[in-house]
Symmetry: C5
Subunit: 102 residues, 5 copies
Amino acid sequence: MKLGKIVGTVVSTRKDEKLEGLKLYLVRDLGLDLQEKDTFVVAADAMGAGIDEVVLYAQGSSARMTKATDKRPCDAVVMAIVDILEVGGETKFLKNPGQGQG
Amino acid sequence: MKLGKIVGTVVSTRKDEKLEGLKLYLVRDLGLDLQEKDTFVVAADAMGAGIDEVVLYAQGSSARMTKATDKRPCDAVVMAIVDILEVGGETKFLKNPGQGQG
Amino acid sequence: MKLGKIVGTVVSTRKDEKLEGLKLYLVRDLGLDLQEKDTFVVAADAMGAGIDEVVLYAQGSSARMTKATDKRPCDAVVMAIVDILEVGGETKFLKNPGQGQG
Amino acid sequence: MKLGKIVGTVVSTRKDEKLEGLKLYLVRDLGLDLQEKDTFVVAADAMGAGIDEVVLYAQGSSARMTKATDKRPCDAVVMAIVDILEVGGETKFLKNPGQGQG
Amino acid sequence: MKLGKIVGTVVSTRKDEKLEGLKLYLVRDLGLDLQEKDTFVVAADAMGAGIDEVVLYAQGSSARMTKATDKRPCDAVVMAIVDILEVGGETKFLKNPGQGQG
């Protein structure tokens, strides 16, 4: 999985019929220092995540292993919302309980 | 999925028989600022998209999950046409209704 | 799919038995300007393509969707020979009818 | 597979239900000289590995081939703990028996 | 497939049970000029290949299409040993019959 931050949304009315009802987010990759990178993906939301949330996304065929994305032409899915990130014994990220209700 | 812009077409008369009838587009990757990047893919069109349209494409086995590409040797498919792109609360892209009828 | 040019061949007598009879080509990636890039793959030939031909290759599990590569340990396949490449309304590549009979 | 070092953990209470009970590690890529690179993934732990251990991780659909990850939306898994790494006839890494019980 | 050279071995006693008996090699990527690159993978050996041999490896789900790797959490496999590499009509590599019995 990759660590990312939801930074925006994509609206599409003309899309494959199997994608109806799926929310599509712009997810920017994060470094271990939580800094935003230049790279990003468009990922389907399987978690009810919100703008600005730090999440994990899965890619490839694994992106179709959630109920929301099963057998769909979807190659990236937000499948977890990050609460805590610990690196080298330090807490690098701690989710604010009120965060991400975008 | 990746965000891209259709910039050209590929014509091939000698191709795997399962690809007959599929339109093949050159799709250039876009940044979050909608600038065209140097990278591109050749993607099958599952949407009736047109030249200059901003689209999403899926890769890998997920590219075979549309009716048009099922079980075909195709690893990239245009599966959505983008209407609106919102980043950080700002509308970065709004599809012109008359656009993309290429 | 990726756009490439066949620049060489690989001969291997000791290979997985399922690969017997498959021709293996060195395929160099091309830019939209048809310039050869530094990156390349080794791809099985499903098309009877020849040296110097401009082709498309598919990767990943999609590379196993041709008759020639079905269920084989092969992650890249030449599945189309390019006749015409059009970018921004200009013909960037037009296959010479006599080309590629290498 | 890729060579990596477990440098941290990710805690997530809201995640796809199929991921319940899976430990998620931050795994930094290593070079052949065992130096840590800038790139990393979040990988599920199928081995009972610990912080600071040098491991192998598998990606893509192969990441779902362990009991712990079968059919789960998981695209990276720690599937081996490295004991010895030999390059050019030299032992570049030898696991300390007491290491990694983090 | 990618062109690589076997430069080392990985020994792991604690690994997924399905990987028992598989030899794991460090395989460094090669350029078309046969120069070693900085990138490498850890690949299972399906060929009885040896140290210093020039090989092809397959990645992703295709890496599970050999008898040795079927349904295993393995995303890279050495599936061919290279005898001859020809680029632009020139022989860039010719396997020494005594080579690679490492």
